[in-house]
Symmetry: C2
Subunit: 334 residues, 2 copies
DNA sequence: CTGTTAGCGCGTTCAC
DNA sequence: GTGAACGCGCTAACAG
């Protein structure tokens, strides 16, 4: 038998109370006499009543749903953050609407409008590029937005991330300590602040402190894919004197690693690599890759926690949270 | 200035028409005079009006949102399916609410109720175990459910997946052709039908056709993690005579591969491996792993397409769709 | 502590 | 073609 949707009104009638009272017990409002509460709960159970979240959303203007915008869920980095977000969201009874943006500006704006139409209570944004149009849209949104895994360099939107500059600085320092004279910087699009600004700054700082001249021919801009890492290998191998690289993405680093090894370059003897993020990939390949330990799950979790506070209009001491990272040295460095 | 939510009523007033007319143009109802339509559209644009999806959902009883239940989004297999689902969902203007179930029965049921409360129009379920309680809940749901990447062995719920039995049969046949006499079957929980039923059946069929006795000591049940693959290596290596394995999961296979190699076992010379799913991992490790090519993205996409038909109450010729797979032979087999 | 009464923003008959 | 009116299921004052 098709289950007729049973409403709060049915429960009220059956329990001999008003729908307001039913609403109160459903929402845990303390102003209900225990006896009444018990009676209502019995009816709720008997009728198998389940509140309609949509109607609730319309009436209360809160959907208990948040939107998550990320470039691509199949990238381990984002999937890990998403998992952290979802766990905390569930804890606070929020649901998550996922939107893949492919780092496409039009799509991001479209997706944002979509999320707003659905009346999400908050948004978590992941991704590295934020163009002005999107930034405007975020500011115009009457819903809180938190950046996870990156920061908006142009703005002070709330965010949770690591100090990428410091992380790369440490990584490159390690490479310098290991007597490498020419160290490559390999990353995805430099147009993304995390690469073109923060990480590159860390790289340059480490070099300058070591009195090594910055050589832009050692900066390689590509995509964050395994395939491009493989392709890049021959170019790297033929760049005279380069004996080490910081690589901003694990998949990319694995591609480079395999590509180099296929060319007969020994890692770490002839070439050292430090990657970023420390996803599970880094320990699955041989040699295992040294990496910047990015607390991905925690980044998502903390971002979500921050968002709950913002949605709840609580005072937050710090809207831009920097999480600690660590360096995990494995076999791709000496 | 805080954007006051502007409603269909505001548009009606500004345009000098009734809200019914505005509703008609917003929903593309043809019964509107072109002039009127144009006027309304202008006002909509001028006022930057965006329909409230929640109110729409209440009134129409359709949320244009679907629920996706999966074990863990950080597992590449599920992330790939999710990506396929999302792309098709977007195409049909649906949004996705993601729920991680961790293959936990209580959580699954809870998550299902949650989704129903949110009035999702349909559900895509991924996961390998379906217990009776969940099955009942699915059947009681007045919303269509499609299985993606697995089938419900006990039922005829709509599904999209590959023929795992046939796939494993082919894989094991290859190993048999390569003169392996003792071939291990390694998978996650055998309680999951995909392992304990379909895959194992394929394995046994291949063996029996080759007149090889089935030896349950060669069936290894573990979890689908890299770490457990590594741990399993020594056990496998010390099992006399085993020279090959079918491994039901790529991460697990990589763990085994690395574990074996660390023990000095040469792959594929001393030991051959064929894994399942052909995620990107298989070509990142050395030797690259031969694998059953599972059309993950397509599985998600087709499942979502099927769901749209079901939600639309269209007639579907086949509710249980089997997608083709292929065998990708790489360096872990001779 | 409990009931009444308004909406929330929109889709949808039904008349005109 | 278009508008008036009702209702979707629930929350939130406001009385009492």
């Amino acid at each position: 038998m098709a289950k007729q949707t049973i409403t709060i009104y049915d429960v009220a009638r059956e329990a001999g109370v008003s729908m307001a009272t039913v609403s109160r017990v459903v929402n845990g409002n303390p102003n209900v006499k225990p006896v009444t509460r018990k009676k209502v709960n019995e009816v709720i159970e008997r009728l198998d009543y389940h509140p309609n979240a949509v109607a609730r959303g319309l009436a209360s203007k809160r959907s208990t749903t948040i939107g998550v915008i990320l470039p691509d869920i199949t990238q381990m980095f984002f999937a890990s953050l998403a998992r952290g977000i979802d766990d905390i969201a569930s804890m606070y009874k929020y649901n998550i609407i996922l939107e893949n943006s492919d780092e496409d500006v039009d799509k991001k704006v479209e997706v944002l409008e979509n999320l707003q139409a659905k009346q999400v209570d908050g948004i978590i944004y992941m991704g590295n590029a934020v163009d002005d149009r999107l930034r405007e849209a975020f500011k115009a949104a009457r819903t809180p937005v938190v950046f996870a895994g990156s920061v908006d360099d142009k703005n002070t939107l709330p965010s949770v991330s690591i100090d990428n500059k410091a992380a790369v600085y440490e990584a490159v320092n390690k490479l310098i300590d290991n007597k490498n004279k020419k160290i490559a910087f390999i990353s995805g699009p430099l147009s993304e602040p995390v690469n073109g600004k923060f990480r590159l700054e860390g790289y340059r700082l480490a070099l300058s402190e070591a009195k090594v001249d910055y050589d832009e021919n050692l900066v390689f801009e590509t995509s964050n894919t395994y395939e491009d890492g493989v392709k890049l290998a021959s170019e790297i191998a033929s760049t005279t004197g380069v004996t080490a690289a910081f690589v901003a993405n694990d998949s990319l680093a694995v591609g480079l690693l395999n590509g180099l090894q296929d060319l007969g370059v020994k890692v770490p003897e002839d070439f050292e690599i430090i990657s970023s993020n420390n996803t599970s990939l880094t320990k699955m390949v041989r040699p295992q890759i040294s990496s910047i330990g990015h607390p991905m799950y925690d980044t998502g979790a903390v971002a979500m926690r921050l968002l709950t506070k913002l949605m709840n209009k609580e005072e937050v001491e710090e809207r831009n949270i920097t999480l600690p990272f660590d360096m995990v040295f494995r076999q791709s460095t000496k």
